[in-house]
């Protein structure tokens, strides 16, 4: 067999692949052919660690769907450069050079945004040949400084995301695969950028100065040769450079420990947003001064001018970056990118909202010895994990929140046991320990409240992710209803306990009628939950009534029943007993007797409207909460009307059908009544 192999090998005369010092290329096609003839259809070579399952990973060489090594245009980056794919300078004509540089900047920004959305770095930002060979651009100050900042920014973003550990192992986002992210001297990118910015600022001042002064500034070489376009190009460049500078500053500020840089980061982000606005507004000028752009397809272009950028080739990296498949990806269009930015870093929820949520932790506990208790340490860790999870994309977030439920439940039980162990006999507690008891109770309530909050978020995210089919809405709203009831209960208790503690500090005040009244007024947060409860209950009953009166099509499945689907959807909640005593049968019992006529009489939607109205007065300083209350009111109003229409006319007109759409609220549906 070995002899046969030697005979079959032939030394190639000429290949396009250069041989290295230790390697020689040999053509083995004849060998492979004879090997194929030896096996019949259906036969497979078995090895110790090679079976059918392993065989599935096989690639077919030269199959364009699988073989990412297939040469598209250039075999290597060097070949591309030799063929003029990324010239430096881009053009001898300075005006064209500037125009093209701006195009490269715009396209890189679009690539960066595409990367943030989840594509690989290799096929987005590093499809830029200029970035792949950092030293080539050193003679072109503008391009060079910009490339350095891009590399440094990408590196910083990867570090931040990695440190926060909010990504999954195979997340494309953080994989660099040997791409040149560590450019030599990239840390000095800002000083380079500042120098370039300074030069262009002076060029801008020079071109705007009246001709009399211009003689003084004559030693200032203009940016490019067409004086009419000088101002426009200078401005276009400046806003792009400044955006990059402030974005990088925002990143470095956010990386400062203990959250010290957050306020500064916020300011940088605000500047970024205003610079983005300038960038957007520069597009008219750039399009008009660009040569040969048609109006067609302008929406999908990745540059402000509408011209194709020079120096990009996504296929060059295929071989360098291990698992990137031979697939073209679509870079975000320029317009979409600018609308997407709006202050959300990494496309995820703002860090600030996430951190404010953490600040809800009871203040009192912070300085007490009780912190040293091991359970409190675990609780702290649980909270941090939850915050990290809240920073991730909705799909991942929901999965992780669901899994967390049991941890929170166990946490509660452990704390409760620890509490009983410490303070078994309430009557014999000395004055000092009384405070400890209060803290413990407060924390227990807080843990329960958080648990139900996570449960409600888990259910709500299902709507955003489109996990529920309309035939499942009834059971989902029912479960939301039972969870929200518990949540509002715990929230209310927690607030009452807080008030209690507040009163005990300081001198005892005589109970005035006003104090008593204030005590019994329902806190706004609870009111907010209550109107949601009414909506959830209303929707549950309406859907159930429609089904009971055969106005909604419910087909029977051949393989399972509604019970299996209930079990599947709420498995994680049931496992964690959130809430207790809740099952498919309690769902059935609650909904079997729902009838439209009863619902009209006892109208949950009207309740929701009433409570929402009351709640609005307490939230006058909170525009977000007000907006949401208005949405709730709209859903309630529309559903109330729909309910009336169906109950009056439905029985007489069988063509009347109700469908449920999310037209006013992201997760509370509005009933739409139509004739089919």
């Amino acid at each position: 067999m070995a002899d046969d192999a030697a005979a079959a090998v032939s030394v190639p005369e000429r290949t396009s692949i250069p041989s290295g010092d230790d390697s020689v290329w040999a053509d083995v096609s004849p060998l492979l052919e004879s090997a194929c003839k030896d096996l019949r259809d259906g036969e497979l070579i078995h090895g110790d660690n090679f079976n059918l399952f392993a065989a599935m990973s096989a690639l077919e060489i030269m199959d364009p769907k699988m073989d990412s090594g297939i040469v598209c245009k250039y075999y290597s980056i060097d070949e591309a450069i030799e063929n003029g794919a990324a010239p430096v300078p881009i053009s001898i004509n300075k005006t064209v050079d500037v125009q093209c540089t701006i195009d490269i900047m715009d396209h890189l920004l679009a690539c960066e945004a595409t990367w943030h959305k989840g594509h690989s770095l290799a096929q987005t930002v590093f499809s830029c040949i200029y970035l792949l060979r950092p030293d080539r651009t050193s003679s072109h100050a503008l391009l060079h400084s910009y490339c350095r900042v891009i590399r440094a920014t990408c590196k910083a973003v990867i570090s931040v995301v990695s440190d926060a550990r909010t990504h999954e192992e195979d997340d494309l986002f953080t994989m660099a695969y040997g791409l040149p992210l560590d450019g030599d001297g990239d840390e000095k990118c800002l000083s380079l950028l500042n120098a370039v910015e300074e030069t262009i600022s002076r060029q801008l001042r020079a071109c705007k100065a009246p001709s009399s002064r211009r003689r003084v500034l004559e030693d200032m070489e203009p940016l490019q040769t067409n004086l009419d376009l000088e101002e426009g190009y200078c401005k276009a460049l400046l806003c792009r450079l400044r955006f990059r500078k402030h974005f990088y500053h925002a990143l470095t500020s956010m990386r400062r420990p203990q959250g010290r840089g957050l306020e500064l980061a916020r300011k940088h982000i605000a500047t970024c947003i205003s610079e983005l606005d300038c960038i957007y507004r520069s597009s008219d000028f750039l399009r008009s001064s660009a040569c040969g752009t048609s109006e067609d397809g302008i929406e999908n272009r990745t540059t402000a001018s509408g011209c194709q950028p020079i120096g990009f080739d996504a296929s060059l990296n295929c071989r360098l970056s291990a698992p990137t498949p031979p697939r073209a990806i679509k870079i975000l269009s320029w317009k979409k990118l600018l609308l997407v930015q709006d202050g959300k870093l990494y496309g995820r929820d703002s860090m600030f909202t996430v951190i404010t949520r953490a600040a809800v932790l009871p203040e009192v506990a912070k300085n007490h010895d009780v912190q040293k208790n091991e359970y409190f340490v675990q609780l702290g860790q649980l909270v941090i994990n939850m915050l990290k999870i809240l920073c991730t994309n909705a799909a991942w977030q929901r999965r992780k929140l669901g899994k967390m439920l049991q941890d929170w439940r166990v946490m509660y039980v452990q704390l409760e046991l620890a509490f009983r162990k410490e303070f078994g006999e309430v009557s014999r507690i000395p004055e000092d320990e009384n405070v400890c008891v209060k803290i413990f109770q407060h924390i227990l309530l807080w843990v329960e409240e958080q648990t139900y909050w996570i449960a409600s978020r888990f259910l709500i995210l299902g709507f955003e992710l489109e996990l529920y089919s309309p035939s499942e809405y009834c059971m989902v709203y029912w479960y939301m209803y039972v969870v929200l009831i518990k949540l509002s209960e715990k929230t209310h208790l927690k607030m009452a306990a807080k008030n209690d503690m507040g009163k005990r500090k300081g001198k005892k005040k005589r109970d005035s009628a006003k104090d008593v009244a204030r005590e019994y007024r329902i806190p706004p947060a609870v009111l907010f939950l209550q109107c949601q409860i009414c909506l959830a209950e209303g929707l549950t009953m309406m859907l159930a009534a429609l089904r009971n009166e055969h106005m909604i099509l419910q087909s029977r499945n051949p393989f399972n029943t509604e019970q299996e689907r209930f079990i599947q959807h709420f498995e994680l909640l049931q496992k964690a007993c959130i809430p207790d005593h809740v099952s498919f049968h309690s769902f059935r019992e609650s909904t079997t007797y729902a009838r439209l006529s009863t619902l009209v009489m006892y109208n949950y939607f009207k309740d929701a409207q009433r409570i929402a109205k009351e709640a609005k007065s307490s939230f006058s300083n909170d525009p977000d909460k007000l907006a949401e209350l208005r949405k709730i009111e709209q859903v309630a109003e529309h559903n109330s009307i729909a309910l009336n229409v169906i109950s009056r006319v439905g029985a007489l007109d069988p063509t009347l059908k109700a469908s449920f759409e999310f037209s006013h609220h992201p997760y509370f549906a509005t009933a739409v009544v139509k004739r089919s």
Binding site: I329, A395, N557, E564, R565
Partner: protein, 206 residues
Amino acid sequence: MERKNEEEETETGKSELDASQIEYVSYGGEHHLPLVMSLVDQELSEPYSIFTYRYFVYLWPQLSFLAFHNGKCVGTVVCKMGQHRNTFRGYIAMLVVIKPYRGKGIATELVTRSIKVMMESGCEEVTLEAEVTNKGALALYGRLGFIRAKRLFRYYLNGVDAFRLKLLFPCPDLYPSLPMIANKDESYSHNDHIPHEECCELHQHL
């Protein structure tokens, strides 16, 4: 592992073709393999090597079915089953019906046959992934009792999200009684059993 289904079951199908004219055959051997491969290759964009097909049809031939019309293969389903963590479950890997034959319930019939074999073989559940944009597949599986258990962010290489669809078979003693957590109230009942009559009724439908 990913699976792709580009089946579109529209409500308005051409009624020239009678459902009884379709012949359904269980995977019979090597002679069926090229038919399965060419159908899948032609309709789906994911690249599969021949080994992928062999893996499924060699190890679980009883789970793959082909649909013929006048001797021509017009549709196929390829599946597997096995122990996954602590459940025994079926997995639908590929489902294809060629365009002119869509909308006639062929895909539903292919999948139904496969699921029946899985159920009879002791599977507790069946699972698959489908693109969130594949309305036809989602409707088909929804009608069979599958729920969308999870959304998988950017599951497919082209960046599209996927749903993990799961069908849970009814079974009285499937769920372990509830936790380990000490609870004051002893008298809770969680996973209630299906009343016996309902269970029988289900089997009768099949």
